[in-house]
Symmetry: C2
Subunit: 335 residues, 2 copies
């Protein structure tokens, strides 16, 4: 008999999620039925969307997110003991899964791709949903051309840091906005962004004008709010904006969102295209992204830094730390 532990969200978050919004519940798992596997979580993901979707799900709910797990028992020949799977079972340490019963796009359990020796944790990061988000959200919506100027906000995060590096690979000039000078250093020195700007201390409009004197062609928006208004107001004719997230407002009530400088004048006169997306849209094509990203990492063109927190009991801490911007690269918890 296996005892599993899971985080249940009891209440709707008000502002920053509180520890008391969660309850860790223990449950006994039944014996496996045909086609089922018992999975022990090894890496659990904390991501901005866990905050954003809280208001759109009925409480109480088991905290979803991606995890990489080891198959410990199996009644499914496709998933033998010792193999690894990626699932959306989230913040729980042991799970019984019937891979054939999860049909919703994001719920699909799939085998961890062959990582060619790279860390398995990448399965919830650069070679998982965040990597696919960066890849398709940027390439499909921004359609960047070599020589164009690309701006990324939230540029030190799991998605933003990959978007900026893909933009470099595609021959673009890349400017990243981040929230600390250490992140500025990391982006410029390690990830080879052409410029990184600390939005908390810089005169954002002026700093961007200096960094992008010819204007901005593509903007990958992770944050929303006033920073995005400033950037969008410096875009060129026929510029493209890929709206991936709005993390600056995730702790706000959806009925009382903040205000920012209007976008319409820039959108009209520069004939901009602004498109939001959820990465499940390209779910069937994720393997394309993974193949390219693995290749780029192996060849040294892309760095997939991880911000690792140890311990199942530290999931809450890792989550709120990520929301506060403590992470460099992908925030992930080692169970």
């Amino acid at each position: 008999m296996v005892k599993a532990r899971k985080y249940v969200v009891k209440d709707y978050f008000q502002g920053v999620p509180k520890l008391s919004d969660f309850e860790v519940v223990e449950e006994e798992l039944p014996p496996l039925k045909d086609n089922e596997i018992l999975v022990k979580a090894e890496w659990i993901s904390v991501d901005p969307y866990l905050r954003a979707y809280n208001s759109q799900v009925n409480v109480p709910y088991d905290q979803f997110s991606y995890q990489v797990g080891l198959v410990q028992e199996s009644k499914n020949p496709d998933y033998p003991v010792g193999s690894r799977v990626v699932s959306h079972k989230g913040w729980r340490n042991y799970t019984i899964i019937n891979p054939k019963l999860n049909t919703e796009l994001l719920e699909t359990t799939y085998k961890l791709p062959d990582l060619h020796g790279l860390p398995n944790s990448l399965g919830v990061g650069a070679v998982g949903m965040p990597g696919a988000t960066a890849y398709f959200g940027f390439l499909e919506i921004c359609k960047p051309k070599p020589g164009e100027t690309v701006v990324v906000s939230g540029a030190a995060g799991a998605v933003g840091s990959i978007v900026g590096q893909i933009a470099k690979i595609k021959g673009c000039k890349v400017i990243g906005f981040v929230g600390s000078d250490d992140k500025v250093q990391w982006l410029e020195k390690e990830l080879k962004f052409d410029k990184a700007i600390n939005y908390k201390t810089a005169d954002v409009a002026k700093a961007l004008k200096n960094a992008a004197p010819k204007g901005v062609d593509c903007y990958f928006d992770n944050v929303g709010g006033e920073l995005s208004s400033v950037i969008i107001n410096q875009m060129n004719v026929f510029g493209r904006v890929s709206v991936c997230g709005s993390i600056s407002s995730y702790n706000d009530n959806l009925d009382n969102l903040p205000k920012a400088t209007i976008l319409q004048p820039a959108v009209v006169f520069r004939q901009l295209k602004v498109e939001g997306f959820i990465v499940s849209r390209w779910r069937e094509r994720w393997p394309e992204a993974f193949a390219d990203i693995i290749q780029w990492i192996l060849s040294g063109k892309l760095k997939a830094r991880e911000h690792i927190t140890e311990g199942f009991d530290n999931l809450y801490k890792a989550f709120t730390g990520m929301l506060a911007g403590e992470n460099f690269g992908k925030a992930v918890v080692k169970v």
Copy 2:
């Protein structure tokens, strides 16, 4: 020798344009050279973009806009005396034009389409730039499907009133936002909008929820600002927003635009596509729009109401009246 009169804009507008920002200048026109025509303006257009582009042109400048004129003398066999042309020569009564020398898209002089007996003034309205704007801006960007719910702001204007009627022709449910109860009556009774809402007196969010209980699929945005934020926050997954104008902010300084509720959360979670456009993008295809619109007017499916001001000396009054929302349909000046 012909004496021409024209409006010159001497200063950048501050807020609402002032009469003293303009000067009426008289000039003597030289004799015609080969390929030139002498055009006497009959109908001159006043449009929101005349305000919007003021800050983007160097003063002083001759006030541009579209006009329908009669060819009075001709040294160009393609444009004989007595024929009519549409040009972008704007607020002037007599003009010498060499149609072959105007190569910029919006500057092109072209023959007034055969209006099959409809008023020539339509050449600067429903069968001119505003009609093409409504037709392509709505159909190409919103790509409406029968049964979808379409919202139009600035719905009693030259463009909005046509967009709403095209949406009805395409089998959509149409809701219009306007600034007076008289306009509500006109849209609902005469133009057969499913619903019109006075944004100045209604609880906009609530009124829209009542009118569009299934949410909004397409939004044709003429106004920008908070009204647009409210509408965009009620859009359905994969909704499309065509941003045609931002008239609510045209009297504001571009360096100090107003703030409104941010759009990013709706844009991400509903995966919206928001695109701005300038109608010159489809300049070569304008005749397609004109052919359909003429047919729709002749068959009674589309009403092209005009708000006519008499007299060259009343151009300023017609312009600021249009900016203040006094017009029902297309604002035009009869010279």
